[in-house]
Amino acid sequence: MGILRRRRATSDGPVPADRSIVTIADAPPRRNVRVCGQVTRMRARPTSGLPALAVSISDDSGTAIAVWTGRRAIGGVALGRRLVIEGVATRRGDQLEFMNPEYTLLVR
């Protein structure tokens, strides 16, 4: 239910992912996107003692980070693995960071 009072013109919110993959450099933050790259770095990044896995994914245009909360490892996600990441990224500094994105393992 939504009753809106005096609402100004706004966007329609995140659009559903266009199934096509964009380069990391072209990926807009705050919108649902798909990028494809290779795992170039993996880091356990605990927060307040709880586990989190931070993975750097690089394509020819740049590097983005995917963070999965509450886990130390994901089967199949290792250095050199190619994968597709789909989700909404936040801009952190000059890098895009995805929180718990969908991922698809590709053949190495």
Binding site: R5, S11, P14, A52, G87, T90, M99
Partner: protein, 219 residues
């Protein structure tokens, strides 16, 4: 800035008014029709009746374009879920969440998409302590998952810092005086600002420096 506030209780409404007065674009979301009916027709802030724990509601109020989302309902579970959705599904750069029950404070961090946790009990205690116990070191806010804290001290005449310039105090490196409130005015602190009794000093402290800061300002 575009700010979306989830939870239109007295805290949310107060924040909305303050932020709007500062020139920000504010939307208030609440799911209680009675609250909406009673307060939603007053004032210039935009209201939305809906459940902020639902992606559809966050979509409808354009959280995708918001600079800040504040989850300040009276329910910690709701605040955590709203924060998670805001960060994970909408990439909101700054997510603020209110902690109602201190027992839950340990969850209010990156794990749930929370950038800044605001503890109502701490703030309330700070307000009470300020009225009752001038001169003590009061922690106001925890930032960055508890690693940075904003603290406040009202200096008494007995404070060892009285008469010294801020630069000469010997404050530890992991701390900064961010503001000074003197005679109800905010003074931007400089190295040569000399501290006086009744100055209200706001200090940002990281790491383990709190005890040193307390020693310098309180004794």
């Amino acid at each position: 800035m575009k700010v979306v506030i989830a939870g239109a209780g007295s805290v949310g409404r107060y924040m909305a008014d303050q932020l709007h007065a500062s020139g920000h674009e504010v939307t208030l979301v609440d799911q209680t029709p009675a609250v909406f009916d009673r307060f939603g027709s007053e004032g210039p802030v935009t209201w939305f009746l809906g459940d902020a724990c639902e992606v559809a509601t966050l979509d409808a109020v354009s959280v995708a374009d918001a600079d800040v989302l504040a989850a300040v309902t009276g329910d910690d579970e709701d605040n955590l879920v709203i924060a998670l959705l805001a960060k994970q599904e909408f990439g909101v750069p700054r997510v603020v969440a209110r902690v109602n029950n201190p027992k839950n404070e340990w969850m209010f961090n990156e794990m749930w998409g929370v950038d800044v946790a605001v503890s109502t009990p701490h703030l309330l205690t700070a307000v009470v302590e300020e009225a009752v116990n001038v001169g003590s070191f009061v922690r106001l806010l925890s930032l960055e998952g508890g690693d940075a804290r904003l603290a406040e001290v009202t200096l008494t005449e007995k404070s060892p810092a009285i008469g010294s310039a801020i630069a000469d105090l010997g404050l530890p490196r992991e701390s900064t005086v961010v503001a000074l409130i003197r005679d109800r005015h905010v003074v931007v602190p400089r190295g040569d600002t000399v501290l006086r009794p009744n100055d209200e000093v706001l200090v940002l402290v990281t790491g383990d420096a709190e005890d040193d800061v307390r020693r310098v300002l309180v004794g």
